[in-house]
C-alpha cells in the first residue's frame, strides 16, 4: 500500500567552509507523515532545499518513484510534484494573497494570458478550506505573522503535489491554526500523499507523524516508527544524551512592581491594555493570532507610538519614544521576527551581539575590540551558538542558531526588564531547555520578564502570572496556580471575559 | 626616454566640447596650418561635455606635458583664468579663440568677429527677413554662455537704431544647447507670442531646432529664423526657405589662424603685444589690437544661393 515516492541517496551538501549535509539517506513513502528531527543546524532545512530544487546537492542522487531526477530549479521540483513551506519567510509583501499563492505557477488561459479570475476563485477555495477569513485581494503587508504563515500553507496546497514538505510550519501559528493544519495534513495523508514535517515540538510530532528520521551534525543518525518510540529515545538520538524536565521554573521571590501599564492604546492594534510587572516575576502573555501582544510590547519598547495610556516605571511615569530610550531605562525586547527585526543577517555574529550596547562599550565613541570580544564569547557560548567562528555572517547560520544570536544580543545588555516575544520559536529541545533554565535563573536573580508565547505549555510552565489577550484587549489575568489550558484558551478565544 | 623638445612644436586646440561640427571644422583648419608650418603639430582636444571644469582638467595635463601653446575656446571666461595663468607661468603660450577668456587669462584673444558686429548683423538679418517690423525673440544656448550673452547685449543696442523702430525684442529664452529643450522653447514662443515675426538663435543647436519647430508647426513664412549656424547642418532649412539667411564665420579659418598666431608667438617672432602683426598664411596678416583682441572679420552670410557650396566644407 505504502510505496516509496522520493529517495535521497548518499546526499552531501557543502557550503564554503562547512559541510551542511554528509552521507545522508532519506526515504519518503506515500500515505505517511514523516518527521525530520534534529538540533538547530542539523541540516534539515538544507535537505528541504535540496528536495525542492532550491539547492543542488554537492554529491549523491535523488530518486523519484524509482528513477533518478535532477531538480535544477524550484520549478523542476514543483513540476515533479514536490511542494514546500519553507522555514524562512518567503512572501511578496507588496502583492496580493492570490498572487503570492500562484507566483511561479500562475494559471493561464489558452492564449497564455493569466487567468486572474480563476486564480482568485481558487485562492478563495483554499482559504475557505483552511477556514481563513482573508480577502484574496489583500496585500500581504497588511496581514499579521500568523496569517502570512497560513497563506504559505495555502500556497503549498495550491500545487497538485505528491509530496508536501513543511519546514516548521507551526512556529508562528496559534492553536486554532495548528488544528486546521492537522486536519489538512490528515486529509493529504488520506489522499495518499507523502508529507515531510519538521518541528522542534514533540507534542506535534507525536500527534501527527507516523515515522521519523533523526539527523545530527549533517549526518543521518537513525529512523523509526513514532508510535513505538518515546520522546526520550528520540532526544537521545538527537543530542546524544537525555535531557531533564522541560520547564525548569525556579521559585523566585516576587518583589515590588517595576512596570505599571495603564490604559495603553494604539488605534487599530490594541485598546486599554493594563498590567503590572514585578521584580523577579515572569509574566506570560498568551493570545491568538493578531491578539496584539507583539504590538503592546513594541509600544513599550518605543517602536510604535501609543495614542493613550501611561507607562510607569519604578514609580515614575515615563515617555518612551524610541528603543534607545527604552534601553536606557533598562528594557530589552527580543522581537518575534528574527530575520527582519532581530538579527542583521549580513553582519558578523560578534557585531550582532554587541550592537545594542555599542555606545556603552565604546568610550568616546571609539570601538573597543577587546570588550567586544569578551562580550561576544561570554554570551555566545552561554547560548551555545553553533558557528564556524564569531566572524561569520548571521545568515550562514541555521534558523535556530540565528534565534540564539538574537537572544544573546539582548541578554548581553544586562536589562532590568526583559521582554521576550516568542523566544523559543524554532529552537530545538535542548536549547529550549537551556533558554528556559536561563530565563528562570535570571528571574530568580531579580529580573522582571515578560514572556510572549503562543506555546501554551511554555506559558503555563514558565509564567508566574498569565495575561491573556483577545482581539486587542486584555481578556483575563490568571495566577500560576489557577491557570490551566482550558481557562487560558477560553479567555484567548473571547469566551470568558473579566479579571 | 624621448626628449620633449625634439618632438617639434606642439600646439593644442582646446575646444568647448567634442562632437560638435563647428569644432571639428576648427580642427581641420588647425591641421591645415600645421601642415604648412615646419615641425608644428596641431592637437585637437576637448572635454566630452561642455564644462569649464572639464577644460581645466585638460589644461592641467597639458601643463604637465609641457606643450608649447594652447588655443582655447572657453566654456567660461573667468573660471579658466587661474589655470591659464598657471600654464603661462610654466612657459606655455595661451591664446583664446571663438569664445574668449577674460583679460589676464590669455595673451591674445582671437575673436571670429567683433561682438558688436555680430550682434548688429544678426539684427539686420532678421530685419531683412521680416521687413523691418514685428516682434523678435532670441533663443540662446545656456544662460551662462558668455559669448552668446555678449552678442545678445549688442543686439539690444542695435535695435535702438531708427530703422528698427517698428521692431522689438520680446524675450530671451534658453535652449541649453539641447535639441528637445530648444524645440520646446521655440514652440513656447509661438504660443506666447502669436504675432511673433522672427527668432534669432545665435547658436548652432538652437537655430537648427527652431527651424525644425517652425517647419513642424507650419509657420514657415510667418515666423522667420536667423542665427549662427553651420551650413552643413542648416542646408535643408535654407534650401527649403524656412531659414532665409543666417551667418557664421569660417571655423576652418579660425583654427588655421589660431595655429599661425601661436606658432609665431612660440617661435618668438612676435610677443603678442597690441600692434603686433602676424602673417598667417592664406589669411594674410592679423593685427593684434587693444587688450590683445584680434578680429577676423564680419561673419559670412549664407543663403539659398551659396549654401550648397559651403555645406560641403563645414
Amino acid at each position: 500500500m505504502k510505496k516509496t515516492i522520493l529517495e535521497l541517496k548518499d546526499i552531501a551538501k557543502y557550503f564554503p567552509g562547512i559541510k551542511a549535509l554528509d552521507n545522508v539517506d532519506f526515504t519518503i513513502r506515500t500515505g505517511e507523515v514523516h518527521a525530520l528531527i534534529g538540533e538547530n543546524g542539523a541540516g534539515k532545512s538544507t535537505l528541504v532545499k535540496i528536495m525542492t530544487g532550491v539547492y543542488q546537492p554537492t554529491k549523491g542522487k535523488i530518486l523519484m518513484e524509482g528513477s533518478e531526477v535532477h531538480f535544477g530549479t524550484a520549478h523542476d521540483a514543483q513540476a515533479a510534484g514536490v511542494a514546500a513551506i519553507h522555514q524562512e519567510a518567503s512572501m511578496f509583501t507588496e502583492l496580493t494573497v492570490t498572487e503570492n499563492i500562484f507566483m511561479g505557477h500562475h494559471l493561464r488561459k489558452k492564449g497564455g494570458t493569466l487567468d486572474w479570475k480563476a486564480m482568485r476563485q481558487h485562492t478563495q477555495e483554499l482559504l475557505d478550506r483552511l477556514e481563513l477569513d482573508i480577502n484574496p485581494d489583500t496585500l500581504i503587508k497588511n496581514l499579521g505573522t500568523a496569517q502570512r504563515h497560513m497563506v504559505e500553507i495555502a500556497k503549498a496546497l495550491s500545487v497538485d503535489a505528491q509530496l508536501v514538505i513543511m519546514d516548521e510550519p507551526t512556529s508562528a501559528l496559534s492553536l486554532h491554526e495548528v488544528e486546521e493544519l492537522y486536519k489538512i495534513i490528515r486529509q493529504l495523508k488520506d489522499e495518499g500523499k507523502a508529507i515531510v514535517f519538521i518541528s522542534h515540538k514533540f507534542d506535534e510530532i507525536f500527534e501527527i507523524c507516523d515515522y521519523f528520521t533523526v539527523f545530527r551534525d549533517g549526518q543521518y543518525i537513525g529512523e523509526g516508527e513514532v508510535a513505538t518510540s518515546s520522546v526520550d529515545e528520540i532526544v537521545k538520538m538527537m543530542v546524544g544524551r537525555s535531557l531533564g524536565h522541560m520547564f525548569p521554573k525556579k521559585e523566585a521571590a516576587i518583589g515590588e512592581a517595576v512596570l505599571d501599564v495603564k490604559g495603553l492604546s494604539l488605534p487599530g492594534f490594541f485598546k486599554n491594555v493594563s498590567f503590572t510587572l514585578h521584580k523577579g516575576e515572569i509574566l506570560g502573555f498568551f493570545g491568538l493570532v493578531g491578539a496584539g501582544r507583539s504590538e503592546v510590547m513594541r509600544t513599550i519598547f518605543g517602536i510604535d507610538k501609543k495614542s493613550e495610556g501611561t507607562i510607569v516605571l519604578n514609580g515614575h511615569e515615563i515617555h518612551i519614544s524610541s528603543p534607545r530610550l527604552a534601553m536606557q531605562r533598562g528594557i530589552a525586547y527580543v522581537p518575534e521576527d528574527r530575520q527582519e527585526q532581530g538579527a542583521i543577517l549580513e553582519m558578523s555574529l560578534s557585531h550582532n551581539i554587541t550592537l545594542p550596547q555599542i555606545d556603552k562599550i565604546s568610550p568616546f565613541g571609539v570601538l573597543n575590540k577587546k570588550t567586544e570580544k569578551t562580550i561576544t564569547e561570554e554570551f555566545g557560548n552561554k547560548m551555545e551558538i553553533k558557528a564556524a567562528n564569531w566572524k561569520v555572517n548571521a545568515n550562514t547560520l541555521s534558523g535556530g542558531n540565528q534565534q540564539k544570536v538574537v537572544l544573546a544580543k539582548w541578554l548581553a545588555t544586562d536589562p532590568d526588564i526583559l521582554i521576550l516575544d516568542e523566544p523559543t520559536k524554532g529552537i530545538d529541545v535542548a536549547t529550549k531547555a537551556a533558554v528556559h533554565e536561563f530565563v528562570s535563573e535570571m528571574a530568580a536573580a531579580g529580573l522582571a520578564v515578560i514572556l510572549v508565547s503562543s506555546e501554551l505549555p511554555e506559558v503555563l510552565g514558565m509564567a508566574d502570572r498569565i495575561v491573556v489577550m483577545h482581539e486587542g484587549h486584555v481578556s483575563k489575568v490568571l495566577n500560576r496556580d489557577e491557570a490551566n489550558s482550558d481557562n487560558v484558551i477560553l479567555a484567548a478565544t473571547g469566551h470568558e471575559e473579566g479579571m | 626616454q624621448k626628449d620633449a623638445s625634439s618632438d617639434g612644436t606642439k600646439i593644442v586646440l582646446l575646444v568647448k566640447s567634442l562632437g560638435n561640427g563647428f569644432f571639428e571644422a576648427v580642427a581641420d583648419g588647425g591641421k591645415e596650418a600645421a601642415g604648412e608650418l615646419d615641425g608644428v603639430e596641431s592637437i585637437y582636444m576637448g572635454p566630452s561635455a561642455a564644462t569649464a571644469e572639464g577644460q581645466i582638467e585638460i589644461i592641467e595635463t597639458l601643463i604637465a606635458q609641457r606643450v608649447d601653446g594652447i588655443a582655447i575656446s572657453a566654456n567660461d571666461p573667468d573660471a579658466l583664468i587661474p589655470v591659464a595663468k598657471k600654464a603661462m607661468k610654466a612657459g606655455i603660450r595661451v591664446i583664446s579663440f571663438d569664445s574668449n577668456i577674460s583679460e589676464g587669462g590669455r595673451e591674445v584673444a582671437l575673436s571670429p568677429s567683433d561682438s558688436e558686429l555680430i550682434g548688429s548683423q544678426q539684427v539686420r538679418l532678421i530685419a531683412e527677413l521680416c521687413d523691418y517690423k514685428g516682434q523678435i525673440a532670441i533663443l540662446s544656448a545656456t544662460a551662462q554662455a558668455t559669448n552668446q550673452n555678449e552678442w545678445i547685449s549688442y543686439m539690444y543696442e542695435a535695435f535702438k537704431a531708427p530703422e528698427y523702430k517698428d521692431m522689438e525684442i520680446v524675450e530671451v529664452v534658453y535652449g541649453d544647447d539641447a535639441a528637445d529643450k530648444s524645440y520646446r522653447e521655440a514652440v513656447g514662443l509661438f504660443k506666447k507670442y502669436p504675432d511673433l515675426a522672427g527668432i534669432i538663435s545665435p547658436t548652432t543647436v538652437g537655430v537648427l531646432a527652431t527651424a525644425k519647430a517652425i517647419e513642424d508647426e507650419g509657420l514657415k513664412g510667418k515666423v522667420q529664423i536667423t542665427g549662427l549656424g553651420l551650413p552643413s547642418e542648416m542646408q535643408h532649412y535654407i534650401e527649403n526657405g524656412t531659414c532665409g539667411q543666417m551667418a557664421l564665420w569660417n571655423p576652418v579659418d579660425l583654427g588655421y589662424s589660431s595655429i599661425y598666431i601661436l606658432n609665431a608667438m612660440i617661435k618668438g617672432e612676435v610677443e603678442g603685444n597690441p600692434g603686433d602683426v602676424i602673417s598667417a598664411g592664406r589669411m594674410g596678416t592679423i593685427t593684434i589690437g587693444e587688450g590683445g583682441n584680434s578680429i577676423m572679420g564680419e561673419p559670412f552670410v549664407f543663403n539659398k544661393d551659396n549654401i550648397a557650396e559651403y555645406a560641403s566644407i563645414f
Binding site: T52, G53, T73, A74, H75, A77, Q78, A84, E88, S90, M91, F92, T93, E94, L95, E99, M103, G104, G112, T113, L114, N135, D137, T138, L139, G268, E471, G472 | L18, G19, N20, G21, F23, E24, S48, A49, E171, V172, V173, A178, A179, D180, Y183, R184, E185, V187, G188, L189, K191, K192, V205, L208, A209, K212, D216, S232, E233, M234, Q235, H236
Partner: protein, 328 residues
C-alpha cells in the same frame, strides 16, 4: 467595507491625477490658452518619448535596479539609425526603425548580461555603459551630426505622420503603454518581475530565475530606448552626439512620481504614465508661463519636490485612515 478601504490604499494614481489637475489649473491661470486641444495634443506628443523610455525604466526599477544608460542608448541607436538612413536613403524606413530597435536591444542585452551573468549591480553596470555607449556614439559619428538634409523625408515622417488624426509618435506611446500594461498584468514574465523586486529569496523558492528576469528587463529597456532613439532623431531631424543627455533622470523621476517603489516590487505602469505626463506638462508649461527663464530650473525642482511630498503625505494619511477604521 473592506473593499473600499483597499481602494483608498491603492489610489496612488488618483492622487497623481489630482496633482496633475492642480498643476493644470495653475498653468491655465497664467496662460489661458494652454488647455487648447491642439496644445494638449502637442504636450502628449512631446511626452511620448519619455513615456516609452520610462516604461522600460519602470521594469528595471521594479526589479530593484536602475538603468542610467537610457540616454546614451537612445543617442547611440538614434545615431546608428540616422547614419543608416543617410548612407542608404532607399532603405525602407520601417526596416531602419527595426534596426534601430535591434541596436537598442543589443545594448540593453549587454547591460542585462552584465547584471544577470556578471552579477554586477545595475547602477554600476549602467553608470559604466552610460559612458561607454555615449563614447561609442562619438566614435560612430566621428563627432559629426546627421541633420535634416541628410535624412530622407520618410525617415523624419516616422513620428510625424498621422493615423486617425493622432500623431504617430503618440500612437506609438499608447501602443507601448497598452502592451506594457498587458505584459506586467497578464503575463507570467511580467509578474515574475514583481516577484524578483519584491523578495529575491521567495522568488528563488518558487523557481523564478533572477538571471532571466534581470536580463529580460534590461533588454526590454534597451529595445524601447532603441525605438526612442529613432523617434528622437527623426522628430528633431537631427542626430547629435549629445542626444538625450540627462534623460535618465527624467525617466527615473517619472517612475518616482508615478509611485513606483525605488526598492522594487511595487508600482504600476499607469502611475508611470501619469508621472511622465506630469513632467511633460511642466516641461511644456514653463516656456509659456510668463516667468524669467532663469527661474525655470528652480521652479521645476520645486514642483517635482512638492508633488513627491504631496503624494507621500496623502498616502500616509490614507494608511492612517485605514488603521483607524480597523478594529474601532
Amino acid at each position: 467595507m473592506k473593499k473600499s478601504i483597499e481602494k483608498i490604499l491603492q489610489n496612488r494614481e488618483l492622487n497623481l491625477v489630482g496633482l496633475i489637475i492642480i498643476l493644470l489649473i495653475l498653468v491655465t491661470i497664467r496662460s489661458p490658452r494652454f488647455l487648447e486641444l491642439r496644445n494638449v495634443e502637442r504636450i502628449v506628443n512631446d511626452t511620448a518619448i519619455l513615456i516609452m523610455v520610462a516604461a522600460g525604466q519602470f521594469l528595471v526599477i521594479l526589479t530593484g535596479g536602475i538603468d542610467l544608460s537610457v540616454g546614451s542608448t537612445i543617442a547611440f541607436s538614434g545615431m546608428a539609425a540616422s547614419m543608416l538612413n543617410e548612407a542608404y536613403p532607399a532603405m525602407p524606413v520601417y526596416l531602419i526603425l527595426l534596426i534601430g530597435v535591434l541596436v537598442g536591444t543589443a545594448l540593453g542585452a549587454f547591460n542585462g548580461s552584465c547584471v544577470a551573468f556578471g552579477k554586477i549591480p545595475p547602477i554600476i553596470t549602467t553608470l559604466g555603459t552610460m559612458s561607454i555607449f555615449r563614447g561609442f556614439t562619438f566614435v560612430l559619428s566621428k563627432g559629426q551630426w546627421v541633420t535634416a538634409h541628410e535624412m530622407t523625408s520618410a525617415y523624419t515622417m516616422i513620428p510625424r505622420g498621422r493615423l486617425f488624426g493622432i500623431p504617430n509618435l503618440t500612437t506609438w506611446a499608447i501602443f507601448i503603454f497598452i502592451i506594457m500594461y498587458y505584459f506586467v498584468k497578464y503575463t507570467r514574465h511580467g509578474r515574475e518581475i514583481y516577484a524578483i523586486g519584491g523578495n529575491k529569496t521567495a522568488a528563488h523558492f518558487v523557481g523564478v530565475s533572477e538571471k532571466k528576469v534581470n536580463f529580460m528587463v534590461f533588454t526590454i529597456s534597451g529595445a524601447l530606448c532603441g525605438l526612442a532613439g529613432v523617434m528622437w532623431t527623426a522628430r528633431y531631424a537631427a542626430a547629435v552626439n549629445e542626444t538625450a543627455t540627462g534623460f535618465e533622470l527624467q525617466t527615473v523621476a517619472a517612475c518616482v512620481l508615478g509611485g513606483v517603489s525605488i526598492a522594487g516590487g511595487s508600482g504600476t505602469i499607469t502611475g508611470v504614465l501619469l508621472g511622465a505626463l506630469f513632467l511633460g506638462i511642466i516641461n511644456n508649461a514653463l516656456p509659456v508661463v510668463n516667468l524669467s527663464p532663469f527661474y525655470q530650473m528652480a521652479i521645476q525642482g520645486f514642483i517635482v519636490l512638492a508633488a513627491i511630498v504631496a503624494n507621500v503625505l496623502m498616502e500616509q494619511r490614507n494608511e492612517k485612515k485605514l488603521l483607524n477604521r480597523r478594529r474601532q
